[in-house]
C-alpha cells in the first residue's frame, strides 16, 4: 500500500506540494494526472525516496520514508520498480546487460540463471532479437520496453511509472499500456502511473487522481471520474463544451 499524508515541498519560491494526500490500496493501480509542472514526476521521486519532503509522510508497506534508515531503504527499494520517463537505461551496456544488471548486483543467482531470466523478461516485453543492441540503437518504444523489463525483472511489489507513453506514437503508446497491464496481471503489483494518456489509460487503472496547485484536486474510480461534471475534470477529459470553456476563468 502507498500512503501519502499532508505532503509539503518547496523548490526555491515554487511551492510544489501544499498538503498533498493520496493513498493507493494494495494491488491497485492509480493514474496520476495533472498539468505539466504540477509535480507528478516529483511526487514519484518522493515516493521512491529520491527526494525528501519538507513536511508530511510517505508510507510504503508500513514503512515511513521520512524516518527510514538507509539499510532499510535499500531493502525497500529492492521491492520497488520505477520506469523513468526517458528509460534511464545505462548507455554503456547492451539491452541484455541492462536488464540483467539488477539481478547481477542484488542477488546471488548464477550468471547463467540471470542471463536466462533476462532473456525471458525481454521476451515478455517483445524485445527478443534486440538483446545485444545498445540503448542508442533502440527506438523510443523499444527503450521503454527495455526499461520496463529491467524494472520488472526483480518482481517488484510496487511499481511507479513516470509517463510511460510520452513521446510515443498512439499505437506504440497503447502497446506499452497493454504491456503494463499484462505485467500487472502477472505480478499483481501496486502502482502509480503518471500519464497524459487521458482517457485511454482509464481502461488499465483502478483509480484516478488529478493534481492541481500542490494538492489532489479529485480522486475517484475511473467511471466516477469520467462522469464528473467538474469543469476542470472535464477539461482534462477533453469533454468541456465551448460555453463551459469560455466560462472557466482558471487556466488548466
Amino acid at each position: 500500500m502507498i500512503l501519502i499524508e499532508n505532503l509539503y515541498k518547496k523548490f526555491g519560491a515554487n511551492q510544489v506540494f501544499n498538503g498533498l494526500s493520496l493513498s493507493v490500496p494494495e494491488g491497485k493501480i492509480l493514474a496520476l494526472i495533472g498539468g505539466s509542472g504540477s509535480g507528478k514526476s516529483v511526487l514519484l521521486k518522493h515516493i521512491a525516496g529520491l527526494i525528501r519532503a519538507d513536511r508530511g509522510r510517505i508510507v510504503l508497506d508500513g514503512q515511513d520514508m521520512s524516518s527510514i534508515k538507509s539499510r532499510d531503504l535499500a531493502a525497500l527499494r529492492s521491492r520497488l520498480g520505477f520506469l523513468f520517463q526517458g528509460g534511464a537505461l545505462f548507455d554503456s551496456m547492451t539491452v541484455l546487460e541492462n536488464v540483467a544488471f539488477p539481478l547481477h548486483e542484488k542477488t546471488r543467482l548464477s550468471a547463467d540463471v540471470v542471463e536466462r531470466r533476462a532473456f525471458e523478461e525481454l521476451e515478455n516485453v517483445g524485445l527478443s532479437g534486440s538483446e545485444y543492441k545498445y540503448p542508442s540503437q533502440l527506438s523510443g518504444g523499444m527503450s521503454k520496453r527495455a526499461a520496463l523489463a529491467r524494472a520488472l525483472i526483480t518482481d517488484p511489489e510496487i511499481m511507479l511509472f513516470d509517463e510511460p507513453t510520452t513521446g510515443l506514437d498512439p499505437v506504440t503508446g497503447l502497446s506499452i499500456l497493454r504491456l503494463i497491464n499484462l505485467c500487472r496481471r502477472r505480478l499483481s503489483f501496486t502502482g502509480i502511473i503518471v500519464t497524459h494518456e487521458i482517457p485511454r489509460v482509464f481502461d488499465f487503472v483502478d483509480r484516478v487522481a488529478l493534481v492541481k496547485d500542490g494538492i489532489v484536486y479529485k480522486e475517484s474510480g475511473t467511471k466516477e471520474f469520467l462522469d464528473s461534471e467538474d469543469p476542470l475534470v472535464k477539461a482534462f477529459l477533453g469533454t468541456l463544451s465551448d460555453e463551459e470553456d469560455n466560462g472557466s476563468k482558471e487556466p488548466v
Binding site: L73, R77, F82, D91
Partner: protein, 239 residues
C-alpha cells in the same frame, strides 16, 4: 566536497569493491593515457635538456645536465605534467560521463536498485587514479630522461656516461618517492574534483547539455589549479 571525498574513501575500505569496473577505469585512466604521457614526457625532457644545457654551459657545468633533467622531471615536472595531461584526457571524460548519467536519471536508477552510486561510480575511479597516476608519472620520467639524453647526448655532445652517471649520483631514492607521493595525491585530486562535478552537474551547473559542458570545464580548471596549489604545499613540506 569534503563529505563527498570522505564517503568515497570510506567505501574503498568497505567491501565489496567493484573490481571489474575498477580494472575498466584503470585501463581508461592509465593504459589509454600512455601515448599522451610518452609524447609529453619525451618533448619535456628534450626541451629541458636544451634549456638546461644553455644555462649550465654559462657556468661550465654541462656535466650536470643529467642530474638537472632527472631531478626536474622526477620531483616536479613528471608528477605535475602527467597529472595535468590525465586531467585533460580522462578527468574531463569522467565528469562528462557521470554528468550525463545524472542528467539522464541513470544515477537515480542505480539508487532505486538499492545500489550505492559512490561504490559503483566513484570508488573504481579513485582506485584507478591512485594506481595509475604514479605509474604514468614514472613513464613520463623515464621517457623524459631519455628524451633529455637524445638532445643532451646526441645533439649537444654530453657523454652517456656523464649524463647517466651524474644522474645516478645526484638523484636519491627520496627524490623518487617525493614524485610518487605527489602523483598519488594528484590522482586523488583529479578524480575527487571530476567525480564531484559530474555527480552534482544538475544542481551546481544547471541541467542539460550546457550543464554538463559547464561542469566539465569547471572540473578541468579546478583540478588543474588544485594540482598546482597542492604541488606548492607538498614541495614546501618535503623541501
Amino acid at each position: 566536497m569534503g563529505i563527498f571525498l570522505f564517503r568515497t574513501v570510506l567505501l574503498i575500505f568497505i567491501p565489496p569493491v567493484k573490481i571489474l569496473r575498477a580494472l575498466k577505469q584503470l585501463k581508461f585512466i592509465g593504459f589509454q593515457s600512455i601515448v599522451v604521457i610518452v609524447l609529453t614526457g619525451g618533448f619535456t625532457g628534450m626541451v629541458l635538456a636544451f634549456q638546461g644545457f644553455y644555462s649550465l654551459s654559462r657556468f661550465g657545468s654541462e656535466a650536470f645536465l643529467g642530474p638537472m633533467v632527472g631531478l626536474s622531471l622526477i620531483k616536479e615536472l613528471g608528477p605535475v605534467i602527467s597529472a595535468l595531461m590525465v586531467t585533460g584526457r580522462a578527468g574531463s571524460a569522467i565528469t562528462a560521463e557521470i554528468g550525463i548519467m545524472r542528467m539522464t536519471e541513470q544515477i537515480d536508477a542505480l539508487e532505486l536498485m538499492g545500489l550505492n552510486p559512490y561504490r559503483y561510480l566513484m570508488v573504481p575511479n579513485f582506485l584507478a587514479a591512485m594506481i595509475s597516476l604514479p605509474l604514468l608519472s614514472a613513464v613520463f620520467d623515464v621517457v623524459g630522461i631519455f628524451g633529455g639524453y637524445l638532445v643532451g647526448g646526441k645533439l649537444l655532445g654530453v657523454g652517456a656516461g656523464t649524463y647517466f652517471g651524474e644522474m645516478a649520483s645526484y638523484v636519491a631514492m627520496q627524490d623518487v618517492m617525493e614524485g610518487i607521493y605527489k602523483s598519488f595525491c594528484f590522482g586523488i585530486i583529479i578524480v575527487w574534483v571530476c567525480c564531484f562535478k559530474g555527480f552534482y552537474a544538475g544542481i551546481l551547473t544547471g541541467f542539460g547539455a550546457e550543464g554538463v559542458s559547464k561542469a566539465t570545464t569547471q572540473a578541468v580548471v579546478m583540478s588543474s589549479v588544485l594540482i598546482l596549489v597542492w604541488d606548492y604545499f607538498l614541495t614546501s613540506v618535503m623541501f
